[in-house]
């Protein structure tokens, strides 16, 4: 399998050094936590998941997830439908309850680190007929910073407009969102994540159902975020582009099949383990638990 082309990557993945050995790299922005993301330093990782299990209706959908995300990387989360990719993100962000486990963002629980985290939900998760403009939606990324009960001011709108400009959507700022194409809607979501000005981003299928131009715009943006030292975790479906887009991968199918540098873990064997031959025993156990009502 080919290494990612140099045109799309500007970082360690083109160099022979393993990203987790990049302790000596300078901090990418002032005040950044020291770059040290191996399992031996989970407290400093942009995202550290320890022993996470998530269940819907008592049926476990994620088992024993242990993961430390390296910093400053584009990380693809891939796996078949029902593998728990979205659930993983939602559990990290506290949107679905965990049956067990611990999640930390730069060493602290998520509830204390909201300002460091940006989130792009699936495009289908919202009602695009909602009476708001593209600018209104982008400004939502600033609501936490604006604070409760305070209004969105001109300064915030300018910041939102700037973010729209960065995704090539400045001309559509005042358009109601139902009158945007699917790709444009996705860019609005990305602009909203940009104004959150986070250090760790979680994106749930940003490439789903977008045109080629938007896909390119998104990937350019992801690379720009990486240049800024941000860590971006992206739920992704298209195996053909995995190698060109991502530095690191998390192969998921109810449990972590493999995680690490793309060149190392994107192998036929791992893919077969992830996609082919479902994890029959765990599946059966999960079914049985659900059937018999056993709590995990």
């Amino acid at each position: 399998m080919n290494k990612p082309s140099a045109a799309t990557t500007t970082n360690a993945s083109a160099a022979p050094v393993h990203p987790r050995a990049s302790l000596a790299e300078p901090a990418p922005w002032p005040g950044a936590p020291k770059v040290a993301t191996g399992a031996e330093h989970p407290e400093d990782a942009p995202l550290s998941i320890h022993d996470m299990t998530v269940a819907y209706d008592r049926k476990p959908v994620l088992w024993d997830i242990d993961y430390n995300a390296p910093q400053g990387k584009l990380i693809g989360i891939i796996g078949p439908n029902g593998a728990g990719k979205s659930t993983l993100i939602k559990a990290v962000l506290g949107l679905v309850p965990m049956a067990s486990g611990k999640v930390s963002i730069f060493g602290k629980p998520y509830s204390k680190q909201r300002r460091l985290v940006g989130y792009v939900p699936q495009r289908e998760s919202v009602d695009w007929d909602f009476p708001v403009s593209a600018l209104d939606v982008v400004a939502m990324g600033l609501y936490r910073r604006i604070g409760w009960c305070l209004p969105v001011t001109r300064r915030h709108r300018n910041a939102a407009r700037e973010a729209l400009d960065r995704v090539g959507m400045a001309d559509y700022a005042d358009r109601q969102i139902s009158r945007l194409s699917g790709g444009q809607q996705q860019r609005v979501f990305l602009a909203r994540a940009l104004v959150q000005d986070a250090l760790v981003y979680f994106m749930d299928e940003p490439f789903a159902g977008v045109d080629a131009a938007t896909e390119q715009a998104i990937i350019a943006l992801l690379q720009e975020l990486r240049r800024g030292g941000k860590t971006v975790l992206v739920v992704h479906h298209d195996l053909q582009t995995v190698e060109t887009y991502f530095d690191e991968l998390l192969l998921l199918n109810m449990r972590i099949v493999a995680a690490g540098e793309t060149g190392e873990v994107f192998t036929q064997e791992n893919l077969h383990k992830t996609y082919g031959g479902r994890l029959t025993l765990l599946d059966q156990a999960a079914e049985a638990m659900a059937r018999k009502g056993v709590r995990r």
């Binding site: 209706d57 939602k90 962000l93 506290g94 949107l95 909201r114 985290v117 989130y119 939900p121 998760s125 919202v126 009602d127 909602f130 009476p131 708001v132 403009s133 209104d136 939606v137 939502m140 990324g141 609501y143 936490r144 604006i146 409760w148 009960c149 305070l150 209004p151 969105v152 109601q176 139902s178 909203r192 959150q196």
Partner: protein, 436 residues
């Protein structure tokens, strides 16, 4: 019509109640939780009964507390039955609110039958009687119901104004809302508490049926008229006030036209709101029926005009010279349409200077010829494309190309030409007009 102070108070009470409901209703409609208003306005009954049984009085505060508690309970239980019982959300809502309503009826009949907590009155209200029960306030005899409704209105207006941003994000994108620290569930429950309180405050005067109508109808109408949340809220409030005024005036006058006494104001307010919704639905500029119909007619006319240009272009091509013309009757025949429609289309083309009268009818102008060449070029490029990439036989591509030519913009023109290697002839061997 004989308007008295009494009537003014009735309208004020109706308007306050209608606006209070409409303000909250916007968010129910946008959250696709319209039926939640229905559910809560029924489900509060046991809350009222229990509040009465515990405090042994019809004290407003106790009633509101009881209603608020049951409002949240309804929301939580609906969610719980949906998740644990694995039933459809609307079914779970149906189970919860009918169950609570029945419980409330039993409580009233069993425990509080001796008091005036009349289920019939709860349904229809008695807005005509509101001016009779007054309190003395700042030198005025103000109806008690108006005071209560005014307080509720102020609470709701403040809630929507102060938490506008939070309501917007939690209604639009509950997940993002929760991740940025604005818990969507908490906002939902706050909304439900206010719906419950508003419902209770309105029962006595306008009844629960009007509450349900006012929670949904003004907001639904406003949604058709606006595309921003702020304007939607304001328009819904205006529609609610208009419903109250027109409703009461209607109750006094309309039955008279048919030789009846005046009728229930609450009922007429709901009717007025319904009529306004119907009018909006038909006449709203962009989303209304007429607007959509008009848009469709305009599109058809444009397509027809382009077809006429195409016909005239091909005629010139066939006769091998400019200046060929066709009469309206002939055009109608060629394009299989009524002459009247063809003449409307022609008139538009003449106005735009693309077609002009010639000796034999109508022919292309210079500008018209350019526009027609673009269309024919699109048509023939599409034919080439369809043959090349879809492997369609050349005699099957005219139909699709005929539809595609009308939606081909400049960028698509370029892409088409590129993909088909800029052919000079279409699959049937006719020359493709050069790119302008």
């Amino acid at each position: 019509m004989h308007w008295q102070t009494l009537d003014t108070w009735i309208v004020v009470a109706g308007a306050l109640s209608a606006v209070s409901c409409a303000l909250l209703g916007n968010f129910l409609v946008l959250r696709r939780a319209s039926m939640m208003g229905d559910a809560i306005s029924h489900a509060v009954l046991p809350g009222l009964a229990l509040a009465f049984l515990i405090t042994d009085s019809r004290d407003s505060i106790a009633m509101f507390v009881g209603a608020g508690v049951v409002g949240v309970l309804t929301a939580v239980m609906t969610q719980w039955v949906h998740r644990v019982g694995r039933v459809d959300p609307s079914a779970s809502m149906g189970v919860v609110f009918t169950g609570l309503f029945a419980l409330g009826l039993i409580l009233i009949v069993r425990g509080a039958d001796h008091v005036d907590l009349d289920p019939g009155c709860v349904l229809y209200g008695a807005i005509e009687l509101t001016p009779l029960d007054t309190v003395f306030l700042g030198g005025w005899d103000v109806p008690r119901a108006v005071v209560i409704l005014a307080v509720v209105f102020v609470i709701n207006a403040l809630f929507v104004a102060v938490f506008f941003k939070e309501l917007r994000i939690s209604s639009f994108d509950p997940q993002l809302s929760t991740t940025v620290g604005i818990n969507a569930t908490v906002m939902h429950h706050a909304l439900m508490v206010l719906v419950a309180i508003t419902a209770v405050a309105s029962f006595e005067s306008v009844g629960s049926i009007l509450v349900i109508a006012m929670l949904i109808v003004p907001a639904a109408s406003a949604q058709l008229l606006t595309d921003r949340l702020g304007s939607m809220v304001l328009v819904s409030a205006a529609i609610a006030v208009a419903s109250a005024v027109l409703g009461h005036a209607g109750a006094m006058t309309v039955p008279g036209w048919f030789g009846f006494e005046d009728t229930s104001t609450a009922g007429m307010i709901a009717v007025a709101a319904g009529v306004m919704f119907a009018v909006t639905w038909v006449a709203a500029p962009r989303q209304g029926l007429v607007g959509k119909l008009l848009h469709r007619v305009m599109v058809r006319l444009r397509v027809l005009q382009e077809d006429i240009l195409g016909v005239l272009y091909r005629l010139e091509e066939y006769r091998g010279g400019e200046g060929a013309g066709l009469s309206i009757a002939k055009l109608g025949e060629v394009l299989a349409l009524r002459p009247a429609f063809a003449s409307v289309a022609i008139r538009g083309l003449v106005k735009r200077g693309e077609v002009t009268r010639t000796g034999h009818g109508y022919g292309l102008t210079r500008g018209g010829r350019e526009a027609a060449a673009r269309l024919v070029r699109a048509h023939r490029l599409w034919e080439s494309y369809l043959v090349k990439f879809l492997n369609l036989p050349p005699d099957h591509v005219h139909g699709p190309a005929e539809r595609l030519e009308h939606v081909t913009d400049a960028a698509m023109h370029e892409a088409l030409a590129d993909r088909t290697d800029r052919p000079e002839h279409d699959p049937q061997g006719r020359a493709i007009p050069p790119s302008p």
